[in-house]
Every structure is written in C-alpha cells, then in structure tokens.
Subunit: 422 residues, 2 copies
C-alpha cells in the first residue's frame, strides 16, 4: 500500500483516470466564462454530489449523508475501526473557478480509488472520502458549515435553521435536493485535504507542493450603517444622513488601513454590501457590509482593528450616520500539527516533488478538522494566484502530482503514522 | 363654480371629508413605521387604485385605465370637449411617507368632488382626475413612466417591456393587478397638480403655498465599475481589481463635489448600488451605481459634471478598475408657464393663503405635462423638509388649504382661463 511502488505506466493511467473524472466534474454548473456556479444545495451542487456518489459506488465505496448534508464515501477494511477522512467541498462561489474545493474532493476520491485497488495488509483505519457541505458560505453563512457541525463547533439545528436571502433554510434546501441525511457521519482518526494555493508563493518559487503549517489570523466584522431616508433631489446636503456615504467611506478606509502597512502583511476587504431601500431617488437609510481583515501577524491585525474602530468614529461624524459593528468571526494564527507537516514532507520527498512550508490565507475545512484529529493540509500551485474567479487554473502536471502525494499521505494516515500528533 | 363662495361650514365639512378619505388611503400598504410601501403595480398599489376608482364612482365619475396603467376618473360636462387633467400618483418608494403623490391624487379627487357638486354654468372643459402609473421609478425605471407615455415622450411598448429585478415586465405586473387598459386616455386641455414641497423653504419662511415656477436642472448617470473576482483572504492587495472599492470612491467623490460648491447650490447622491457577486469572501468584480446631480444653475451642473469625469479617471487609476459611465437622463432648468404661476397666485390671494414662488427640486408628472398643455404646479409645506421617509408630514391645516386652492385653480382651468399660455 505505497504509491512509491507504482510503475510509471500505472501512474500515467492513474493520471488519465483522474483528469477524465475531473473534467466530467468541471462541466457541472459550468458558466459561460468557463468557470462554475455551484452554490450550496442548489441544483448544480446536487448534480456534483451525484457525480461524487456515482463514481464512489463505481470505485467500491458505500455512501451516506449526515444530518447537515455532508456526504461520505466509505470503505471499511477493519470492522469497527475509525476512519481517515480525506476530502474538501464541491460547492462554489458564484462565477467561481473549477478547482477550488472540487479538486480536493476529486483528488481524495482518486486517492481512495487507488488505495482500494491495492492488495496489501489490512490498514489500522478505514477510509472515508468526504464532500463537506457549504464550505463557501455565500448562500448560507457561515462558511465551513458542514465541517463546523461535524467537529461540534456549530450545533446542527442552528446550521439547519440558517436562511438564504430568499428565506429558504438550509434544512429546506437540503431536503429539496434530497441531501438532508441523518446521523453524525463516521468517527474520524485523522484528516487530509488538498487544495489549490489561491496565492502565488508556490508558483513564484517554482515549487510543486505546499506543506501548510498555519493559517493566517483573521478578524471579520459585520457593520450596519444607519442613516435616514430622504429625497436625493430635494433634500439639502446638510440635512442628509446618507448610509451609503458612510458605508463607502468604510470600504475606502479598509483599503487605506491595508496600504498603511508595508510588505503586504495585511489583507482587507469588503466583499458584501447591501443597500436599503436601494432606489435611484432615495438617500439610503441602511447599508450592511461584511469586512474581512487577515494577517500572519496577530499584532498587525490588532493594530489594524484599532485603526478600524478609530476610523469608524470619524466616519460617523463626517457622514452624519451611526455605525453598529459586530465581530462575526475571528481567529489567531492557527498552526497545523508539525508532525503532519513532517509526514507530508517525507511523502513529497519520496515522490521527488519539490515542496515548501506555506501559510494558508484562506479558510479550509481542515482548519476545523485539525482541532479534533491529526490533520495534513496540502497545496498545489495556482497560476497567477487567481482565486474565486472563473480564470482560476492549475496545470495538469501539478494537479496529478497532488493526487499522487495525497494517495501516499492517506496510505500512511491509514496505517496510523500520525497517531498522537499534537 | 367658485370656492370663494363657499360658506365656512361647507369648508369645514369639505375638510373633514377630505381628511377622512385621505386617512383611508394612508393605511393601504402601511408599514410598521407608519409610512407606506406601495411600489408600482404591487398588491398595495392595486388596493390604492381600488380606493381611487371606488371613491371616484361614489363622487359621480366614470373611470378608465389607459394602455400603460394610468387611471382616469372622468366627468363630462361638455360633450366632446377636452379635459382639464388634475392628479398625481399613488405609487410610492419602499418605506415612504403617506403624502408623496397620494396627497395630490386625494386632493384632486376632492377638488373634482366639490366642482362636480357645484351647480353652475357649463364649463368649457371637462374634468379628469388622474393617477399616473409609476411616478417613483423604483420598481421599474424610468420614473414618471405613465405621464411620459401619455405625453408621447416614451413609446408605450418600450414602457411595457421594462422589467423589474425579478424579470417581471410592466405589462405582466399591470396584467396581474388587472390594470393593463387600452387607449391613450382623455385629450388634455390643461393640467394641475399639488404636492408636498419635499424641502424646507415654505416651512422656513412660514408660507402656506408654493407657486412652482421652475424645476432644478438635473444630470443622472449610471456607472458600471468593472474589476475582477478574487479571494478576499488570499489575494494580495497589489493584485486586486476591487470594483466595490472603485464604486465607493465614486460615492465619496460625488459628496466631495457637492461640498466644493458654496451655499448648497448643488445636490449629489448615489441612491442605488448593486454588487456582484456580493459574497463575503469574494472581491467584487462588478458594481452598478446610479448617480444624481441637481442644481438650479446649469453652469454649476456643468462644472460638477466635469469634476465627476476627472474624478472617474483618477479612481480608475487608484482602484485599478475600469468605469463605464452613461448619462441616463438630463434636463436643464425647466420653467412652468408664467401665466400658470400668476393664475395660482391670484387664486391663493383670493383665498388669503400666504404664497411664494418656489423651485421644485424633485421631478413630478407636471414636468411632462407642462410640455403639452398649460400647467399649474402647487406645493404645500413639508415639516422639516422630510421626504421619501416614513416620517414625512404635512399638518392638516396646510393639507386642507391646498385642497381649497387646487379646487379654485381647477375651476378656473375648466373655464379656459389658462388657454394659450406659453
């Protein structure tokens, strides 16, 4: 049960099989711009789930769906033993790329296929490929919903009650696509995930594999800017309480804060902004924004947060509005288990794949999983670092190298080689 | 047929009748904040139309609906003669006040009721009270849709094909509420409209009646800011093309332009802003904004427009985006016929109502009508100038004084006293 023993011809055929299956996944929910739109629990997400369960059955796995729509493809070598989980997510942002999440599920499925086909000693742990529900969080907040429920960080009933902007709940949406299951899924012994980097560091350094050692710290805030409705034509400027002016000043402020730190150590953004009543001739009375600040340096993040709060007070004065800010989410720099990074490095070296330790700047389900079991997180390069964009791309050689590596890592996890890692 | 002949007790009972009917209108589409939400061709708009046609029938009018949903309540004194039209609109902005538009229709209905009940010589013209379709333009753009079609400025088929943001067309929405009529309505000989001021000038000067002599000039633009989708967490700031940053800079720029002129001679605003894909973790790729600039001085407006275009070029550089700007609507300072202002002044003086010439800063259906027939536009005060807001308010005395004045003005228009005014 070691990929190092595979012959070159097997590797080629494994790569072809992987690329064939990945192409068949990539056309599900395809957009005119050659990306995908598979938001959580939509018809396109349901189709991708069918792609997953159909292929998993073909490759010898049984499948089950848990109480919050996580889909597991299981193979039981050792009755009653816990499972090594390996996977990612099939849901996407709107007009997203084909690789984000989908690559990780497809790679996990093929690692599982290759291990299931290997005749060898019975491993210590069984194997489960997982498609986590709603990692992206664009239709239903928060993101990483499925793995948050699985790891006990979010109560299932709370997740199921979340509504999208049309008032459809997670429970209703999952029910509608036939993916509201029961139970809490298999017991995990370890976890592995592979993903595109969504940044440039691997490409810039000519490295094939990123060994993820930590996640950047993040602070996320929701803010509601309160103004007052007025007529855009007739209300004198001095009388206006323009919530959109206040919100716009907030968007500009966040970029100014990022620019005030040297060496790109801070990322800030507003991705979501909703205006009420959003009519051409009405001064807006209410604007909701979602703010996102990230850094590898928690002191930078603390300083940026202080600048944000000072700036908000100034904006309240200047725009004649009031601003309610709430922290919706925050985490410090989150390390993965060093033994997992070492295991991944040893596997990559054995396969002669260039590798380097990297941060993840984005969130992944592995960030939840590492808190309950030893976890390995791997990256392959992203061309130009493009992410959450239809033009997201990773070349086939890197994609296939990643599947090879993941297969080897999972084989070792199944043998219990990361047991006890902290 | 002169209100000046009414006895005080009649006036009191006219006022009571008006206030009773106006209250019954104000609860249609009422919001929790004691305003109304009666966007064009919604269920609430349909209910308000039923309020209008029911009362009109009770007061001796016949009603008809034209090809674009304008409702006319007709009384024919002189067979075959054209009609004096008097009215406003029953549709509203979301969470709007009870007075905007609705007061003008209710006042027109009561002016008509009082004239219809008067035994006197047969007037030269017949009378039609009108509820113009979709004056507000928030559900379906452009605003003043019904009067634009009536006056030949907008082809009916173009108006009927306009879609709201859910893809419902004007034709479908009117059909759904049973208000897609036929024909082009009665032939107009003159037009009168009364409205709340939506500004403070009457209240500040302690004046009951505004004699509207001109409309401020306006320049309206739609802009699309083009950026590129990226991951908010992982994409380095230098690589971002953040469309929301560009749009926010545009909102701030517009306010800066207004502030750069002394004495509040320029009003600027962005009331509508839509973000795509509007997900918390995606840098927006596209933002649409609607910009509105108004002034009584066309040179100020031209200077402001030049500043806007310069600012847009700077923003394109600073935010690394491209911005497409299109003028959607523009007009110069638009005078009403001076003879109409004089007629209104004479009526107000006869009724001993304090009065002053005023601009309208907002658009009204009378702006369309004055281009085809002699037109009188009247204002009553707005407390604190509050408009497009649930707290919009005009006190009962001013409201009833306005109905008295409108009755007298319409009586004179029916006698042909404004014939030939240019």
């Amino acid at each position: 049960m070691s990929l190092a023993a595979s012959t070159p011809s097997t590797i080629t055929s494994d790569a072809e099989a992987f690329l064939r299956d990945f192409r068949s996944l990539s056309v599900i929910g395809e957009t005119p711009g050659h990306g995908v739109d598979r938001q959580a629990a939509t018809a396109a997400d349901a189709q991708a789930r069918t792609w997953f369960t159909s292929l998993a059955a073909q490759y010898g796995f049984t499948t089950e769906t848990d109480q919050v729509g996580n889909v597991f493809a299981l193979i039981e070598w050792t009755p009653g033993a816990p499972y090594v989980l390996v996977g990612s997510h099939l849901d996407s942002q709107p007009t997203a790329g084909k690789y984000d999440g989908a690559y990780g599920v497809a790679a996990a499925l093929h690692a599982g296929r290759r291990l299931a086909a290997t005749n060898c000693e019975t491993p210590k742990y069984n194997l489960a490929i997982v498609d986590w529900f709603n990692e992206e969080g664009c239709r239903f907040a928060p993101s990483m919903m499925g793995s948050s429920v699985y790891t006990g960080k979010l109560p299932a009933n709370e997740a199921l009650a979340v509504s999208d902007k049309h008032g459809t709940t997670v429970a209703e949406a999952l029910e509608a696509i036939g993916h509201l299951g029961t139970g809490t899924g298999p017991i995990a012994a370890a976890y592995a995930e592979i993903h595109i980097e969504q940044g440039r560091s691997l490409e810039d350094s000519g490295t094939t594999i990123g060994l993820v050692h930590s996640c950047w710290a993040a602070a996320k805030y929701t803010a509601t800017v309160h103004g007052e409705q007025a007529h855009t034509g007739s209300t004198v400027i001095a009388d206006r309480k323009d919530a959109l002016l206040g919100a716009s000043m907030l968007v500009v402020l966040l970029r100014e804060i990022a620019d005030s730190f040297p060496d790109a150590v801070l990322h800030t953004s507003v991705g979501q902004l909703d205006v009420y009543p959003n009519s051409p001739v009405v001064v807006p009375s209410k604007v909701d924004v979602v703010m996102d600040l990230r850094s590898a340096d928690q002191e930078v993040l603390a300083a940026a947060t202080a600048m944000l709060h000072q700036g908000i007070s100034r904006i309240e004065q200047q725009a004649n509005v009031s601003i309610d800010v709430q922290q919706s989410h925050a985490w410090g720099v989150l390390p993965y288990q060093p033994a997992g990074v070492e295991l991944a490095r040893a596997c990559a070296d054995a396969l002669q794949l260039t590798n380097a330790p990297v941060y993840t700047l984005a969130g992944h389900d592995s960030i939840n999983m590492k808190d309950i079991v030893p976890t390995v997180m791997l990256f392959v390069p992203s061309v130009d670092g493009i992410s959450h964009n239809e033009r997201e791309y990773t070349n086939d050689a890197d994609v296939c190298a990643g599947v090879d590596l993941l297969t080897e890592v999972v084989a070792r996890l199944c043998r219990g080689e990361l047991d006890g890692a902290k």
